[in-house]
Symmetry: C2
Subunit: 207 residues, 2 copies
């Protein structure tokens, strides 16, 4: 029997649940996640799992929040050292692509998958994703503005169009990794980003 535990232990369990939910949700979708499956996987009871959140939707929101947190810490976070404008933006996209590629099991971008899953399902989960996406769009836009100001891009650059196209590359990388399991996905993504930002393409891809 594992009765009520300390606050610290409870928080640790909550983290364990979210961690596992991120893995399971990546495979079966955030909606395909079930409390029962999660409980079995964690060696807990269903009540033990759901007790930390109240409802399944609250659990799902906690999982999305954690994914947003990780994305921000990793992608814009690791680009903070780079000079504002094209350099920082390139760094951010390189981090995103690396983040999607590096892990053998935890492939792709969780938020991108969830964004597709909820694109037609109104509700708080979709709202949270829309907010996170808007923040990302603002970030990319700000760096592109900086690039124009610094003379790295022409003054008549259509920035929203560029944001749209850069987003498309990220989606293409995600699909190439997850669906096609294409080992050259990351390289193709990096080359596309360079091309869009009008930098010369330095190397040729093998094969």
């Amino acid at each position: 029997m594992s009765p009520r535990k300390s606050v610290v232990e409870a928080a640790a369990t909550r983290t364990r649940i979210i961690e596992r939910a991120l893995t399971l949700g990546a495979v079966n979708g955030l909606e395909g996640l079930t409390i029962g499956h999660l409980a079995t996987d964690l060696g807990m009871s269903k009540a033990g799992v759901i007790g930390h959140f109240g409802t399944k939707e609250a659990l799902q929101l906690a999982v999305v929040d954690e994914a947003v947190e990780r994305f921000r810490a990793r992608v814009p976070g690791h680009a903070l050292g780079a000079r504002p404008g094209l350099e920082r933006l390139s760094r951010a996209f390189e981090e995103w692509i690396a983040y999607m590629t590096e892990d053998e099991e935890h492939r792709g971008c969780f938020l991108t998958s969830v964004a597709m899953e909820y694109d037609e399902r109104p509700g708080p989960i979709r709202d949270v994703i829309l907010t996170a996406l808007a923040r990302w769009t603002d970030y990319v836009t700000a760096e592109l503005d900086e690039a124009v100001t610094a003379g790295e891009l022409p003054h008549d650059t259509d920035i929203p169009q560029l944001v749209f196209e850069l987003g498309g590359i990220a989606l293409a990388v995600q699909q190439a990794i997850l669906l096609n399991r294409d080992p050259s996905a990351a390289d193709r993504g990096r080359r596309a980003i360079r091309r869009i930002l009008n930098k010369p393409t330095p190397q040729v891809l093998g094969s």
Copy 2:
């Protein structure tokens, strides 16, 4: 009571079921589709619905097959009249974008959504999608080959890279339509396609 009907009537019912499943599946995903909900929507019993397919997975496969059929009839189908190479390829992408945009309710590309949904779920549905995607990739590749041969594109064109980037645009259009409900999604997509295929961008997008 509606007892056994003629072969023709049974086929019509089957078509009705698939039609409805395409609509419901676009919202809740192909996995979120339930026989009970489908039956209620159609004013039928669950047994009446599932009897046409045997299992839920067979129903799902029938729905995907129908979606593949429609995509092919519409996208490469409507581009058949265009001259091989860039003209035909541009026409095909314009058809795809129009197909994703035109319908007020039936927005986006069903196959693209399902492709994301099953990217991490091995099984026959994923296999069918991979096959359809491979055929589409072959189609785009063949037209690009034609364009190189005809001198519309440079001889050192990296065709797989171009296929990758064109696919990204389609994904960006899908996301802009479904998630952001951006009314300029189609225009942005068309402009991106033109840019990638190295055609001059004729008009400027309003706002």
